[in-house]
């Protein structure tokens, strides 16, 4: 605690209470977008102001925080937010998915299965799944209230008509608890099945749009689809080049200017712990050396 000028976890207690009330309501109505009085945060919109406020509101002194950006613990956004809470809350930070009690994420759900007691906090840019088809907020609210979700299928229909398959690859709409249609934030649809019946609590915060929504533990989350074009998880042709994992989400990494590239796990913690267990991919010599540097 080297920043006495700030309250624990930056936000003042009244603000945290307000956010917690919104979170409780969101948990009570899975998938429903609860408005909240989003605060200015010391970072620009689009960098996770919603997620940071949710994390600040639920963080306690005993928590262990993990922050990922596109699955990675060591990108600018992840490091900045982790440092922010280390500084303002003095909580322990980790990169291990299993050890963390609160995981703030942008664009990915960790590969390791989450367990009960963990909280996954998503940073959400646009919480409204119907937004690009129906621009009026009054109308989308009414559609949610009355459960009129035909329009969501219009979007999927357009995909198939144009590309021959459902081409939506991220922010793939889901139906939560057989009631509300929800945008799972821009996570790849590869991660959608992980949301279903998940043991961890999932909270979503959209700072600019001032909405919080939630998926309580063990809640049914179904990806929308057509009978003759069922939801399919994205599949990769090759295993991870570093750890040889065949069932994780891969990033393409350009290795030279002659078209060379390799595919590695986007979840760095998953990849590193697999390598520590002795799993090897086709390019595993180099990263071993790098790991010693780190």
């Amino acid at each position: 605690m080297n920043a006495p000028a700030y309250n624990f976890a930056y936000l003042d207690e009244q603000t945290k209470r307000m956010i917690r009330r919104a979170i409780l309501k969101a948990i009570a109505i899975p998938g429903y977008q609860v408005p909240f009085a989003s605060r200015e945060m010391p970072m620009p919109y689009g960098w996770g102001t919603g997620g940071v406020q949710v994390t600040a509101a639920i963080l306690g002194p005993d928590d262990t925080l993990k922050v990922i950006d596109q699955g990675s613990d060591d990108t600018t956004n992840a490091i900045s937010i982790r440092k922010f809470f280390e500084k303002t809350a003095g909580v322990a930070a980790t990169t291990s998915t299993l050890d963390a009690t609160v995981i703030q994420t942008r664009h990915r759900i960790p590969e390791a299965t989450l367990h009960a007691g963990q909280v996954l906090v998503y940073q959400v840019p646009i919480p409204e799944p119907l937004r690009f088809l129906e621009p009026r907020e009054t109308e989308t609210r009414r559609m949610h209230a009355l459960g009129e979700y035909g329009l969501m299928h219009v979007k999927l229909y357009e995909d198939i008509a144009r590309f021959g398959h459902i081409a939506t690859a991220y922010a793939y709409p889901v139906k939560v608890n057989e009631r509300y249609v929800m945008d799972p934030s821009p996570t790849p649809k590869f991660d959608n099945p992980k949301m279903d019946n998940c043991a961890a609590l999932q909270l979503f915060g959209a700072g600019r749009e001032k909405r919080i929504y939630a998926v309580p533990p063990y809640t049914k989350v179904v990806s929308l689809d057509f009978e003759d074009h069922p939801f399919s998880r994205y599949r990769f042709d090759a295993p991870c080049a570093l750890c040889g994992s065949e069932d994780s989400y891969l990033d393409e990494i350009v290795t030279d200017d002659k078209g060379g590239r390799m595919f590695v796990c986007s979840d760095t913690d998953h990849c590193e712990s697999r390598q520590a267990q002795g799993h090897r991919g086709t390019e595993s010599a180099a990263p071993h050396k790098e790991a010693r540097h780190g």
């Binding site: 088809l133 009414r142 009355l146 009129e148 035909g150 329009l151 299928h153 219009v154 229909y157 357009e158 198939i160 008509a161 144009r162 057509f226 009978e227 003759d228 074009h229």
Partner: protein, 266 residues
């Protein structure tokens, strides 16, 4: 007494309007409107701009709440219900299943940025159709029925001509086989040859499907071609009503006589 189900249905009114009135403050938009519409019947509401036609259409289609009076509609289960007592969910459901609403400007009734196929399929998806192939088949058969080249099923309506847009809007409304269609100046803004084709199309669809329709128009030619009955409105009142041929060939009211005589002889 009718024996069959069909006969029975057409014996009973579809829409019953009783003493309908709407005021905007001190301004009376329409008052004392009462009529009964039977299944398969086409009613034209004619009158000049500002005579209350559009307000009346909005009252009839439950988009506006009347100041007094009521509109009752026979639901698919045969029960006549006051529209004011319907919940919002029921009203919206009615609007996208058993009713159609054709706007004068197709841009208001269509989603201009999504494909024609999705425009037609939207109502089907809204009532739970969940099979892409079947939705697409239904959409393309409706495009054929309204004489739109099915090769253009994946084009957005903003690439369509005015006449095609209007026909697409009609297809989009009819895909759930509604029993009542409201049309607000369906041929407004179209050139004369396109108007003629559209009227022809609407007339044959209405006959084929046994639709009841309420058509608001200032164009007496449209009324003559489409409708069985005509209501003439002036300053919010219904001043004359009757069979189309009777009203247009032998108008009683001076205002109707004026309207009829202001058409150029063919």
């Amino acid at each position: 007494m009718a024996e069959t189900n069909d006969g029975l249905a057409s014996d009973e009114p579809l829409l019953v309007v009783d003493g309908l009135a709407k005021n905007y403050g001190r301004l009376t938009a329409c008052r004392d409107v009462s009529f009964t519409l039977y299944p398969g019947e086409v009613l034209a509401i004619v009158g000049e701009s500002g005579s209350g036609k559009s307000t009346l259409l909005q009252l009839l289609s439950a988009q506006l709440a009347p100041t007094s009076g009521r509109v009752s509609y026979r639901m698919r289960d045969g029960v006549l219900r006051d529209l004011a007592t319907l919940g919002e969910a029921e009203r919206r459901f009615l609007f996208r299943t058993d009713w159609g609403y054709v706007h004068q400007d197709p841009a208001q009734g269509l989603r201009m940025a999504v494909s024609a196929g999705a425009n037609v399929g939207e109502r089907l998806m809204a009532v739970g159709w969940n099979h892409y192939g079947r939705i697409r088949d239904a959409a393309s058969s409706w495009l054929e029925r309204v004489e739109i080249d099915t090769a253009r099923i994946d084009d957005a309506p903003r690439t369509y001509s005015g006449g095609m847009r209007q026909r697409l809007q009609i297809a989009r409304n009819l895909v759930t086989e509604p029993r009542l269609v409201f049309m607000d100046e369906p041929t407004g803004g179209l050139d004369v040859s396109v108007q003629a084709r559209l009227l022809d199309l609407v007339r044959s669809l209405v006959n084929e499907l046994g639709l009841a329709a309420i058509v608001v128009t200032h164009d007496l030619a449209v009324a003559r071609l489409l409708s069985h009955r005509v209501m003439v409105m002036k300053a919010g009142h219904v001043i004359e009503t009757g069979l189309t041929d009777q009203v247009l060939d032998d108008p009683r009211e001076p205002y109707t006589q004026l309207l009829v005589s202001s058409i150029l002889p063919p």
